[in-house]
């Protein structure tokens, strides 16, 4: 049986999602996408600053990719919903990553506003991928609200600190019947591999690739790591024994 990732009814060919922020130049992006093999690529919506000449990112993303605008800049559900609607109307497809952050120090998401935005946008036919702080109750509400996946952070955006929240992510994998996609904090290919081994459906990586000395090579490394992790997960790792065999038998009396 083929191992397929399906999100919002669509088959996604790569479990490595790519963020396009922080690159030294947009010109690198097509090559990085080739190296990572990513199909889902995130972009953001911003006001044009006439003083700052920046080229349109969309022209650097190939037509086969699924463009996923994020709602970065939104501080509450209402703003996130507005951004999502504009992005879709501007021809961006109906996938959206909800990112509602009202915390400038750590850039941690507002789970409550995220659920609200998810509910509204899912009802309008968006394929909603909410970025959230790994909390089981929130995740359950996101399922009810109609999310197409759940995207818990591994550690704060840009921190490159890996899967600090791994225990909570583990719980989400066990309890939530949607693809779990680790988004934020993955700093190394080995961390992406670890997330995939744990059983997440995909990972979203931005900073670690964009700010590497050689983003293309780093992109390629992440691609291999994600594949390796996925294969390992499917191969069924052996059990780890937490304790050695104990001394006194509890069921000996049954044999009498």
């Amino acid at each position: 049986m083929k191992d397929v990732l399906i999100i919002g009814g669509k088959e996604v060919s790569s479990r490595l999602f790519l963020g396009t922020g922080k690159f030294s130049s947009h010109r690198l992006i097509p090559e990085v996408i080739r190296a990572t093999g990513s199909q889902v690529v995130t972009v953001a919506l911003r006001r044009i600053d006439p003083e700052y000449e920046e080229e349109n990112i969309v022209s650097y993303v190939s037509g086969e990719c699924i463009l996923m605008p994020n709602t970065s800049g939104a501080r509450n559900a209402e703003e996130a919903v507005r951004i999502a609607r504009v992005a879709r109307a501007a021809g961006c497809g109906n996938w959206v990553k909800i990112e509602v952050i009202a915390d400038n120090r750590y850039l941690l998401p507002d789970n409550y506003e995220t659920v609200k935005a998810t509910e509204i946008l899912a009802a309008e036919g968006f394929v909603v991928l909410p970025y959230m702080s790994p909390d089981l109750t929130t995740a359950k509400k996101l399922v009810e609200a109609g999310a197409a996946a759940v995207m818990p952070l591994g550690s704060p955006i840009g921190s490159n600190r890996g899967l600090r929240t791994r225990e909570l992510i583990r719980i989400l994998i066990e309890e939530i019947p949607l693809p779990i996609i680790v988004d934020a904090g993955i700093g190394r290919p080995s961390e992406a591999a670890e997330a995939m081994e744990m059983g997440v459906a995909a990972v979203l990586v931005n900073t670690a690739i964009a700010t590497a000395s050689d983003p293309v090579a780093m992109g390629r490394s992440f691609k291999l790591a994600v594949e390796a992790g996925r294969i390992a997960h499917l191969a069924g790792p052996g059990e780890t024994h937490e304790y050695a065999q104990a001394s006194s038998p509890l069921t000996g009396f049954l044999r009498d």
Partner: protein
């Protein structure tokens, strides 16, 4: 949920369970339904000790070295059902009785004097003799003596559960008796209890009404125990998933001699009972396991460290049985006749603490 397993071939499944598979399951953190069933298989009997060690650690970690004590109070034994295995069967000749307010108060005083704060009240199924209003009246009396009241009565409508919750009932027990539909019909030839679905869905109605704890179970001995244990576990898991805030537990009662003398159709050995409890503990690490006085003292003592979390003490299954002056016929014969003090002593000897009061609704 049960429908999925209506035509399931348990025997074929058990045949393909492997040693390696069982070892892998025991080491897992979160078991699937299939894992649970594998641990209930005959093959898994070889691994009882490993299961026990992990189940023991798991129980201690989740519940502490603690056993919660309670006692049942039978309020009335009028019953219109014809359950073939029950002492209160409408056809059985025994004195039918229901406690008056004064008698309820007397029973309550005696029980409260032993230190217990949680009580389980039971009635037979009779909307005429023990209607909801009667149960409600008894609860009003019992509230003065106990901080937590659970009910084990006939299936009610949701609004009736809401009513009882509003006067202070916070726990609910309902045994499906037999999850297998065909077998169920066989054992319940007459009376409202024939309605399989209404009974099966009672726990959900109770949870929606606001009950904080729910206890389900099958009566072991009526039908193949491995299948029944499995479906009980699934039912508990379903309730936990649907009502995450409710404390879910199971009871594994084995048939006991009763008036009417109906013998068990299936033998359930001590080993089987232990396997059931251990498998359930590994499947639902935070699920409660209630062991009643149906089981003999020696076995109950052992079960303390094998996953039990709640036990009854000083029990009587007769109406008004706690007041020594009434020598009534009970619903079934009790095995472990120890009172609260003796149970406490046994627990302390095992380095466990008896708990009489878990909480109180404010």
């Amino acid at each position: 949920m049960c429908q999925r397993y209506d035509k399931f071939d348990f025997d074929s499944f058990f045949k393909q369970v492997t040693d390696a598979g069982i070892k892998r399951i025991i080491a897992k953190n979160r078991l699937t339904e299939t894992d649970f069933l594998s641990l209930l298989s005959p093959r898994a009997e070889k691994y009882l000790e490993e299961m026990a060690q992990k189940a023991h650690r798991c129980t201690v970690q989740n519940f502490g070295r603690v056993i919660f004590l309670f006692t049942p109070m039978y309020l009335a034994n009028y019953c219109v059902n014809q359950c073939v295995y029950c002492g209160f069967n409408v056809h059985n000749k025994l004195e039918r009785k229901k406690l008056t307010r004064a008698e309820v108060e007397r029973e309550a005083k005696i029980i409260a004097a032993t230190g217990l704060k949680h009580i389980l009240i039971l009635t037979g199924e009779s909307r005429r003799e023990s209607p909801v209003s009667y149960i409600r009246e008894c609860v009003e009396v019992l509230k003065k003596y106990f901080t937590s009241i659970s009910i084990e009565v006939y299936p009610l409508e949701e609004n009736e559960y809401v009513e009882l919750v509003s006067v202070g009932v916070d726990g609910f027990t309902m045994f499906q008796e037999v999850y297998n539909k065909e077998a169920y019909a066989e054992f319940h030839p007459g009376g409202p209890k024939r309605n399989y679905r209404f009974r099966l869905e009672a726990p959900e109605r109770a949870c929606r009404a606001g009950m904080r704890t729910v206890n389900v179970g099958a009566l072991l001995g009526l039908h193949q125990w491995r299948a029944e244990a499995f479906l009980t576990g699934l039912h508990a898991d379903y309730l936990q998933n649907t009502f995450p805030d409710v404390e879910v537990s199971i009871s594994p009662p084995r048939m006991r001699p009763q008036l009417g003398g109906f013998p068990p159709k299936v033998e359930v050995s001590d080993k089987n009972l232990v396997q059931y409890i251990l498998a359930f503990r590994l499947f639902m690490p935070r699920g409660g396991v209630t062991i009643s006085t149906r089981e003999p003292s020696e076995l109950r003592d052992r079960l303390v460290r094998l996953g039990a979390t709640k036990m009854s003490a000083g029990s009587s299954t007769a109406v008004g049985g706690h007041s020594a002056s009434c020598a009534q016929t009970g619903q079934f014969e009790i095995s472990d006749k120890r009172g609260v003090m003796e149970m406490a002593k046994m627990l302390y000897a095992q380095n466990y603490q008896p708990v009489y009061k878990d909480w109180q609704t404010l």
